[in-house]
């Protein structure tokens, strides 16, 4: 077991093998770093505190018990963690609504989604302030923001969104694409 002071000096990617070896000090540091962002995301999705706490607890315990599975070549620990939290929150949201979970919320699959080439830009993005990130997302035109909101934070499929908004499926897909491209463009300007 590492001492807390030492664990605090380690990078996330260095903490994960320790967590995989069941080091509670390493896990505590990991939670202190990302628990706030994880809870914020869960709360944003499920909309109530007890439910958000359940999601975070489940997600972090899942990570504690599968920490050794993290593969640093496939992305950052924070991105991986927030993906797990998001998927579990959507799962909880859909379960509460009496709907079968739509997606394959497999924590392992999250690792597969993110190629190593993302790392450089992602690491750079972590230095963006939260305000800048919120600004990039908040700058979207309403129709683009709406479809991204419904998909990412609401867990709705593109066909569900098309039905809800009364627009063609192709329009939903187009707005999603334009929205992500615009956020990406804002971030690119911030990184320049």
């Amino acid at each position: 077991m590492v001492r807390r002071e030492k664990a605090e000096r380690l990078a996330d990617e260095e903490l994960m093998p320790l967590i995989g070896a069941k080091d509670p000090e390493a896990f505590e540091v990991f939670y202190d770093r990302h628990g706030g962002a994880a809870y914020s995301l869960a709360y944003r999705i499920v909309g109530e505190r007890p439910g958000a706490e359940d999601v975070v607890q489940e997600a972090f315990i899942s990570i504690w018990r599968s920490g050794a599975r993290f593969d640093r070549a496939r992305g950052s620990v924070r991105g991986w963690t927030l993906s797990i939290v998001r998927n579990r929150a959507i799962d909880a949201l859909r379960s509460r609504a009496g709907k079968a979970p739509k997606l394959t919320f497999d924590d392992e699959a999250i690792l597969e989604q993110r190629p190593a080439e993302e790392l450089t830009e992602e690491e750079a993005m972590r230095h963006e302030t939260q305000g800048e990130l919120r600004g990039a997302v908040g700058s979207l035109p309403h129709d683009q923001a709406k479809v991204i909101e419904l998909a990412y934070f609401g867990g709705f499929s593109h066909s569900e969104i098309a039905a809800m908004l009364g627009v063609p499926l192709g329009t939903v897909k187009g707005r999603m694409r334009l929205g992500l491209e615009k956020i990406r463009g804002e971030l690119a300007e911030g990184l320049a």
Binding site: R49, F60, F105, L133, S157
Partner: protein, 248 residues
């Protein structure tokens, strides 16, 4: 092959895929295409930072300190479970469980365990509502509630959680493999070393999640789940996919 494999059509799906808005079959088809399409993969890499910005852009909310306490209690209970795996108490549990199943095992084992789902023994791992002291011993918490996790655990293949509901409880399983046709899950409870079926029979949904309820869990020493023929069995006919010791 990227230019001549329908990239333009698949490219329209990329944002929906990244946002998790494709149905599972559509997502699988997209992934299959993207494996052989460098343009799709390059576009995904370019858009990835935008996806990373979404969770980071939400309004910050502070979790209650109790969440951290519960989390660390669960983690420390896990560690204590590993380090004290051969304590007298745990040996006692193991003997009781082994004894129960060896008695049950006298009958024919008509069904092999599900492929890939190893027989699983869950130690008393997580006790929300219990506080773990510095010596790792669990003590009853003063933060009682109507519904609390009594015990939870995870091992390769299956995750399980028992939640109290009045005098009874509900057992939530996830990552359960799909059952062969004509098979169901049956739960069993052990009291005073005796094992009895605990209806109702249940099945995993298409995401591998399964839930069953227990009308009364008072005095239950252990809960087990086996795969049985449709209609259930009076005694287990297969090795358990789950054996969970309940806290005393």
């Amino acid at each position: 092959m990227s230019e001549h494999n329908g990239h333009e059509r698949w490219s329209e799906e990329l944002a929906a895929y990244l946002l998790g808005a494709l149905d599972p079959a559509e997502a699988a088809a997209f992934e299959q295409h993207a494996e052989g399409c460098e343009r799709c993969r390059a576009e995904a890499r370019w858009l990835a930072p935008a996806m990373q910005a979404l969770p980071e852009s939400v309004e910050r909310a502070e979790p209650a300190p109790e969440l951290r306490q519960r989390l660390m209690a669960e983690v420390l209970a896990d560690v204590a479970g590993v380090e004290e795996g051969d304590t007298e108490e745990r040996r006692g549990w193991r003997q009781r469980l082994t004894g129960a199943w060896s008695r049950l095992g006298d009958g024919p084992l008509g069904l092999r365990p599900l492929a890939g789902v190893a027989a699983l023994a869950l130690v008393v791992a997580a006790v929300a509502g219990y506080l773990v002291g510095s010596d790792g011993a669990a003590e009853p918490s003063q933060q009682g509630g109507a519904q609390e996790t009594i015990v939870a655990g995870e091992a390769p293949g299956v995750v399980a959680e028992m939640v109290s509901e009045g005098e009874g409880g509900s057992l939530h399983l996830s990552n359960v493999e799909q059952l062969p046709p004509g098979k169901v899950l049956e739960a069993w409870v052990q009291r005073d070393g005796e094992v009895a079926p605990a209806p109702p029979l249940f099945e995993p949904d298409d995401r591998g999640q399964a839930t069953t309820t227990f009308a009364d869990i008072d005095g239950v020493e252990a809960v087990m789940v086996t795969v049985e023929p449709a209609g259930g069995s009076e005694a287990p006919t297969s090795e358990p996919i789950l054996t969970m010791a309940m806290p005393e």
